[in-house]
Symmetry: C2
Subunit: 327 residues, 2 copies
């Protein structure tokens, strides 16, 4: 691309995404300015996506843009924060087409409008490796009220929003591993994988009524284990109670080994639902404040060694692979 390509792309496609944030200085400065409202703190989180590792390299770049934002906003949701702004660090592949760049900017434009967030800065470069997108997202949370992983207590319920395992099925469908799904169910799980919906609407109820939270990115079992470990507790999960979509139920019904299949759904990751520790007496209030998000109790945090145990039909079930790790 021409020597002016980088500056031109920033000026033409990225700078307009910062127009709503005066402290971004039109992306023309060394950095941006951000200040939380009085009485608030900033919640900050970062997630990196690498083509071929975290998403398929031939994915629509507008969808990739959405995923890059959504996985970060989901972390803010798990802290009980309201999303405000993001920084973007891109390493383009050497052979990046104009279509890739334009589609990516189209996606950012659409998605940031949907979530009401603003691009405030970052860095673009290119390299010999795969396309790499690193987003740092900023949210606001009332001072001292952020929901952390470490707040669970003995006897708290393990609660999860929505349904679990759809994104894993969606990834299998994208990989052409062809789970036995009809066309409508396949579209549903692919959408769950490609456009996860961060549970930002729960932020206030979470701050008021949950003791700990995490977003389900590594896999439900792994992520509940993270809460347990951070809180110095154990967690017992009942595989029977994990909420499944009609698509996942249909897939499950066709599997020869229902325990193994359920374990796959509970370990697959990328659902971006919220998993929480909730005092038994606070569940009704959390439900009332959840804005209609389905909540399911799937287990309990208990004093004991900081570990996860899983049961299926009342019997202990071995956890082979609790979730995703990168190396």
């Amino acid at each position: 691309m021409s020597a002016g390509g980088e500056f031109d792309y920033i000026a033409r496609r990225l700078a307009p995404l910062s127009a709503g944030w005066p402290g971004a200085a039109g992306l023309k400065d060394d950095g941006a300015l951000i200040t939380p409202a009085p009485g608030y703190e900033l919640a900050v989180t970062a997630d990196t996506l690498v083509a071929g590792v975290h998403f398929l390299a031939d994915e629509d770049p507008a969808v990739t843009a959405g995923r890059a934002l959504r996985v970060n906003l989901s972390d803010l949701a798990a802290m009980g924060a309201q999303a405000r702004a993001y920084m973007l660090a891109i390493v383009w592949p050497k052979d990046a087409s104009d279509g890739l760049r334009e589609g990516f900017a189209d996606g950012l434009e659409r998605e940031q409008a949907h979530f009401g967030v603003h691009l405030i800065g970052g860095d673009t470069t290119s390299g010999p490796g795969p396309w790499t997108i690193s987003v740092t997202a900023f949210g606001e949370v009332p001072a001292g009220r952020a929901v952390r992983r470490s707040g669970a207590r003995d006897g708290d319920l393990a609660v999860v929003t929505g349904t679990i395992g759809d994104a894993w099925l969606g990834l299998q469908a994208e990989l052409k591993a062809r789970p036995a799904l009809d066309a409508a169910h396949e579209r549903f799980v692919q959408e769950r994988f490609t456009r996860p919906e961060p549970r930002l609407a729960l932020a206030e109820a979470l701050r008021e009524h949950a003791r700990a939270a995490i977003d389900v990115s590594d896999g439900l079992i792994a992520d509940l284990s993270h809460i347990a470990r951070a809180s110095g507790l154990g967690v017992r999960m009942e595989l029977d109670r994990i909420p499944l979509s009609p698509a996942a139920e249909a897939w499950l019904a066709a599997q020869a080994d229902p325990l193994r299949a359920r374990m796959q759904l509970a370990s697959g990751g990328d659902d971006y639902e919220l998993a929480m520790a909730v005092a038994p007496g606070a569940l009704d209030a959390l439900t009332a404040g959840s804005g209609g998000a389905p909540l399911t109790v799937i287990g309990r945090f208990e004093a004991g060694p900081p570990d996860a145990s899983v049961t299926w039909r009342g019997e202990p079930a071995p956890v082979e692979h609790g979730g995703f790790t990168h190396f």
Copy 2:
């Protein structure tokens, strides 16, 4: 590496780097919390380094860690901010050795202590491409007092700290392009390339006495042009006045084409000095507050088309390549 490798590395090497920042929650949470002191704003900046593009792939990883921090802290310095914290997003190469990971953590540990900053969060993953390090750095600046690129006015002096072109010579030495330098000069320019010193000590004087600033990363001519463009002005630079180190002077004396050689030094980038627009009447106060950093007037901002012009011995000199662009 084993399935536990990622979590183990974070717990063993990265989490201790967050110990001084309670809002980082030991890197065990979805995100970190950060709040500027009352009356202050946060300045935020991000820079990505790719092995083989921004640094040599066989560089000591502790040096790479330092560079990743320093180039970001330099952006904070250019805004007149005090550095406080950073987020780190790493994509390890598939074949990353334990030595690479440990050396990188050693470097971060040493460098963050030197600059008094804290690791507060981020993301680690791995991929098939080169090692990629993206840092987002946070600083504090009194509300409304950040120094921006857009503040220059007609008649302001173009002022630069330190000496220019050393890092470019250092890169040539690293690339074994063997500039004609004796051993001591070669060590000096290599050090300037590998361990740039962000001009954080100037932050207060910059806020008080400079109208606009940028750090010299793309090349002095390009970076002064960025100030000029952001301020809607032109800038005239005198190549004769660009401050050179004894090493650069020695190299220059051996070059057949002194104009071309000076142009190379003024276009090379990576010096991480500060280039500023300073009202003529404020230069003495800026000098007095600079903590001993050498300041040199090398030109002037003027009303006119937002562009850069360069003279050499009083004659216009053509700018072939004003600085670095990534694609």
